[in-house]
């Protein structure tokens, strides 16, 4: 049957629109705040950041700054050798950020997984130990960073005093360029407990029957770990890798106070670098350069996240229904 579609009269169109609004408007009220939030606090800053990184921002606190025409200067600055905060600083910053991110991620996954396997047993009082292992994560980040800064002092710091007490030679910690990265990695150990708790949560979701049927087949602890526990934790592993990688690249609170205290280029992580460009006042058009560097950082993170998601299909197990 053919229905001839008659074009609507003006009145009918108006009526249709009224009904459409009547039906949808009450629901739109629920989502209006989030849309406003995304526009004001995500899209608007992105647009502003783009404009300033390609033009320049007049910083009222820095009289040399001025806005000009379209330019690539703010991006090109990071590839210019021999200027303050230029190529050398950029390369150093990238290299310290990534060596810390990759090494701490690898160590953290192996170390915290071992801790979780160790905690994943039926022993009386195991719940108490889980809480104890998680506790260092509750130290306020700044207080923790500044505590470690004091503890690693080579002039009467707790760690060197302890080393001396057990007859070992003192260590230079943050006060020598070579020992900065090992020190950061060492301090990272104390956050493993928090990651271990995440692994544990996943391990406890593994159906007990899997282990029971493995037991019937005579599998030992090692077999069960490699064939059941680890493959069943890949979803959590992917989550930990993505969040820790982004967290490592964006490290700020655990390095900014240290950078200020020791003035060590090996602590100049990318976000610290961006912050110092924007607010340090040491370079002309610093705000615009900080915006430009934020975009470079954003592209790096987007690329790495994309790659991780791409590879995840090959090794992540999300359960039967996925």
């Amino acid at each position: 049957m053919i229905v001839h579609k008659r074009s609507l009269t003006k009145e009918e169109k108006k009526e249709q629109r009224r009904l459409f609004f009547k039906k949808n408007a009450p629901c739109w009220i629920y989502v209006a705040p989030v849309i406003l939030g995304i526009i004001l606090f995500t899209i608007l800053p992105m647009v502003i950041s783009l404009i300033y990184s390609f033009r320049g921002y007049y910083n009222p606190e820095n009289r040399g700054d001025k806005a000009g025409g379209f330019t690539f200067d703010n991006f090109a600055y990071f590839f210019k050798p021999g200027v303050a905060y230029g190529l050398e600083t950029f390369l150093k910053s990238i290299s310290v950020t990534f060596s810390f991110t990759v090494l701490s991620l690898a160590l953290q996954i192996i170390g915290s997984y071992a801790v979780a396997l160790f905690l994943n047993q039926k022993t009386k009082g195991i719940k108490t130990f889980r809480i104890l292992y998680y506790l260092p994560n509750l130290i306020p980040a700044v207080a923790g960073t500044m505590l470690w800064a004091n503890m690693t002092s080579t002039r009467g710091g707790y760690l060197n005093t302890l080393l001396e007490a057990v007859g070992l030679p003192p260590y230079t910690w943050y006060e020598s360029p070579k020992t900065v990265l090992p020190t950061l990695l060492f301090i990272n150990i104390f956050s493993w407990g928090g990651t271990a708790v995440m692994w544990l949560a996943q391990m406890q979701n593994i159906p007990q029957e899997m282990y029971e049927s493995a037991d019937l087949d005579g599998a030992n602890y090692f077999h069960k770990t490699v064939k059941i526990t680890i493959p069943m934790s890949t979803a959590m592993m992917f989550y930990v890798i993505v969040t820790s990688m982004i967290g490592g690249i964006l490290a700020f609170t655990n390095v900014k106070p240290l950078y200020d205290k020791f003035q060590e280029p090996n602590l100049n992580f990318i976000v610290v670098y961006i912050y110092n460009l924007a607010f340090g006042g040491g370079v002309k058009n610093g705000m615009s350069k900080a915006c430009a560097l934020s975009w470079i950082l954003f592209l790096i993170i987007a690329a790495m996240t994309f790659l991780l998601f791409k590879t995840s299909k090959k090794w992540v197990y999300y359960g039967e229904e996925a």
Binding site: P26, C27, Y30, P33, V34, I35, G37, I38, L40, F41, P45, I48, K122, T123, F129, R130, I131, L132, Y133, Y134, P136, L138, I139, P140, A141, A143, G144, M146, L147, W148, N150, R155, G156, Y158, L162, E164, I189, V197, M198, A201, Q204, L216, M236, V240, L250, T253, P257, K261, V271, I274, Y275, A278, A290, C291, S294, W295, L297, F298, I301, T305
Partner: protein
Amino acid sequence: MTSRNNSLGKQSVPFLCVKYFFLVLVSCVFLFPIYVLLITSVLPNTDVGMKVLWPQYINLKPYLAFFQNSNYLLYTLNTLFVAIMNIGGVCIASSLTAYALTKLNFAGRDVIFAMIMAVVLLPSTVLSIPLMIIYRVIGWDGTLFPLWVPMWLGGGTMNIFLVRQFMRGIPNSYTEAAKLDGASNFDVYLKVILPMVKPILVYLAVTGFIGNWNDFQGPLTYIGTVKGSESQWTLSLALYKDFLTAEGDRRANVQAAVGVIMMVPCLVLFAFFQRQIMEGISTVGVKG
């Protein structure tokens, strides 16, 4: 069922001893920073930076110094205000948004959800500099507004996503039954949905409180870079501004005492909501 008996553990006494020994040993390693924080906070002034492993006597003056400094009372109130406002924003805004996205049918719903998913992985750090420029224009630099107002507009895209995942598990028959009884959309949200998503909201509220209570980057960027904004400082910012100096090194005991005091609310929350936090962590990891 011998295997079951084995796995449930009828272990020999020496084996158990070794096991507990290692459990305690690893605990000692993990608790080391907390131990040093506590020790440092009770050091007598004469012991600070003097190569001591143990205080000559327990000195509670650093704690007294915190409570006698009226500035720190103000910083505590500021921090508490920001943390509580964030909890409110997370619980109310994210659950309302997630409710609309899962249980209401309206034009543009999928577009809005796609928009939220597009920004969910965008790290807010890369936007902090342009945001600071915006806050300068509207006069929010050096105030507490940037630390909590954005949370009330949507409640954070990641939180929306997590609450939505949770709400999808609630059968639609619940909401339809309530609607047949004449309940409005908002009634359904308030009386049917909200009580059912309480576990995830408790998790988001507790972790949100701890995260904002300890936040440093936000306060430093939006408040710390503005001259004359001392009255708006939070505890994290005050620690950084007051103690990261040569003079601050000599007051390492007071610095540690502030750290301990800051840790107390987080410890209390953790003690009360330990089960929800652990459950939440597993949900977030699996669904996130």
